[in-house]
């Protein structure tokens, strides 16, 4: 006959295993990984390009479509390399 302690330990173990399997979730796709890397790159590039002139705008200021357009404006004005512009755009959209 199992003791109450052993039953509780068993139950806890079952719950832990089921939760961990649900936390693991699905593996990120290649596109999601690329976007995550771009976000980190953009966060590092922001102070080196944009902060030369102005502060970072608030994250809720714009829609993603607005950020696309503003980045075109800034890419031309500040002579941004296109890879830097893409990374900073990803950072601005997701922060």
């Amino acid at each position: 006959m199992l003791s109450a302690k052993k039953i509780l330990a068993l139950l806890f173990g079952v719950i832990l295993v089921s939760l961990s399997s649900s936390w693991a979730g699905e593996a990120p796709t290649a596109e999601e990984k690329r976007k995550a890397e771009m976000f980190l790159k953009g966060a590092k590039l922001w102070p080196n390009y944009c902060a030369n002139c102005h502060n970072a705008p608030g994250p809720s200021n714009r829609s993603p479509a607005d950020w696309d357009l503003l980045m075109m404006h800034m890419r031309a004005r500040a002579n941004l390399p296109p890879d830097a512009a893409e990374a900073i755009l990803e950072y601005l959209k997701k922060r």
């Binding site: 502060n55 608030g58 357009l69 503003l70 031309a76 004005r77 390399p81």
Partner: protein, 426 residues
């Protein structure tokens, strides 16, 4: 004894009678088990067949989609011209956006130098910027400038330019554009970006002795090119052609005028080349240096040449920037050359690490600026200005500024100026 025999016999008889039944029942169970096993096998076979059918269906759907796409592309190529294909938006949508900045300010200036006019006035300005995107490589930008002056509302077109990203390193701009000279005109002058209220002396409005108009009408080509393998080391460039310079008069020291139409069949050519020499991975901050030139005939055969050097350095909370401008205007025969020169040096420091509310959103700025030019009207020929400013950033793009200027021109009376401004970028 007899009784035991009868019991034994009865049991024996009963077992003989029921054993076929028992045997038959066991056979039924075996048969039933066999049937269940067969049914399971059949079920598994059917599941496998279903899976195979689903995979086949998916393959067929993928092939069908691919063929449909190939057919669409083929039809598009056959029916549309290369111009239509180029202009077709890549996302299917055009976009437009309104941004810009606005400000309200107060200025107080004591009577000094040759200027008899004291100033004690409020002012305001509104600069909407309209952005329109045709596709990923063509967009339009335009800025209006609305300011109050005297009894009028002055409306000006700051710039209106169509831009085309020709490739990763070249952007073509056509229209009215901010003059790509130095750093202040193109990148620093908007009220919500510029940390002070007044402009550095060489970049004041030309009516107050500035050296250049802020915009040209023409075309420019610009871009940035990486140098070497270390990220962050780049060169940037801009070359432009425009209608050319025009002065208010032929007098030495006269200010430049708007040049919306070429008045002498002579264009202006110029450009800026910049260098960002520090790689990101060194962690030494960000340094930008540049050299600019502006050359055009202003009157018949007389040339105007303006050249400049600029530098800006930023690391963490500290920033230092400065520019030098030289100005050489050929004059008609018998008149001395109109030579001018000016510079400014500005340093600022963000106080975000001070653990006191309000102070941690502040920034202090110091600037020194000077220039020399021929005397013209009431404009002091050799002004010098020391400026101290304090900015309080309510948000990253909303700022309240306070500024004090001490003017001590050479050969003229000194004076003071106090200004405060509330500016916001949107």
């Amino acid at each position: 004894m007899n009784r035991q025999k009868w019991v034994f016999g009865g049991v024996f008889l009963l077992s003989m009678l029921f054993s076929p039944l028992v045997l038959h029942g066991q056979e039924d169970i075996r048969a039933l088990r066999e049937e269940i096993r067969k049914m399971r096998e059949d079920s598994e076979k059917q599941r496998q067949q279903m899976r195979a059918l689903e995979e086949k269906l998916q393959r067929m759907e993928d092939q069908s989609a691919k063929k449909e796409k190939e057919l669409e592309e083929k039809v598009a190529k056959q029916t549309s011209s290369w111009v239509d294909r180029y202009l077709k938006t890549q996302t299917g949508d055009t976009r437009y956006s309104l941004t810009g900045y606005a400000f309200g300010d107060y200025r107080w200036r004591s009577r000094h130098g040759n200027q008899n006019e004291r100033i004690n006035t409020f002012g305001a300005g509104f600069n909407p910027i309209f952005l329109y995107r045709l596709n990923d490589w063509i967009f339009f930008e335009g800025e209006l400038e609305l300011e109050l002056e005297g009894t009028e509302t002055e409306v000006a077109l700051e710039y209106a330019q169509a831009n085309v990203f020709l490739n990763d390193y070249m952007t073509l701009g056509v229209g009215k554009y901010l003059t790509p000279f130095g750093e202040f005109i193109e990148r620093i002058h908007p009220a919500w970006i510029h940390k002070l209220i007044t402009r550095p002396l060489p970049y004041r409005s030309t009516g107050a002795g500035g050296f250049l108009r802020f915009s040209e009408v023409g075309a420019q080509l610009r871009g940035a090119i990486p140098l070497g393998k270390l990220p962050g080391v780049e060169t940037e460039y801009a070359v432009f052609v425009g209608n050319g310079p025009r002065f208010e008069s032929e007098e030495r020291g006269a200010p430049l005028e708007n040049n919306f139409e070429d008045n002498n069949f002579g264009k202006v050519f110029g450009g800026r080349i910049g260098l960002r020499p520090l790689p990101f991975e060194w962690g030494w901050g960000r340094l930008k240096v540049g050299a600019s030139t502006y050359n055009g005939k202003w009157n018949g055969d007389e040339w105007l040449n303006v050249w400049g050097l600029d530098a800006a350095y930023q690391k963490d909370l500290f920033e230092l920037r400065g520019e030098y401008l030289g100005f050489h205007r050929e004059m008609p025969a018998g008149v001395n050359t109109d030579r001018r020169g000016g510079w400014y040096l500005q340093g600022s420091y963000k106080l975000s690490e001070v653990p006191i509310r309000v102070i941690d959103r502040s920034e202090v700025i110091l600037r020194f600026s000077a220039l020399h030019q021929p005397r013209h009207g009431e404009i002091a020929p050799k002004p010098r200005q020391f400026t101290i400013g304090w900015d309080f950033w309510l948000t990253p793009s909303v700022v309240w500024k306070i500024e004090y200027d001490r003017d001590f021109p050479r050969g003229d009376k000194s004076g003071n100026q106090f200004l405060t401004q509330f500016a916001l970028g949107f």
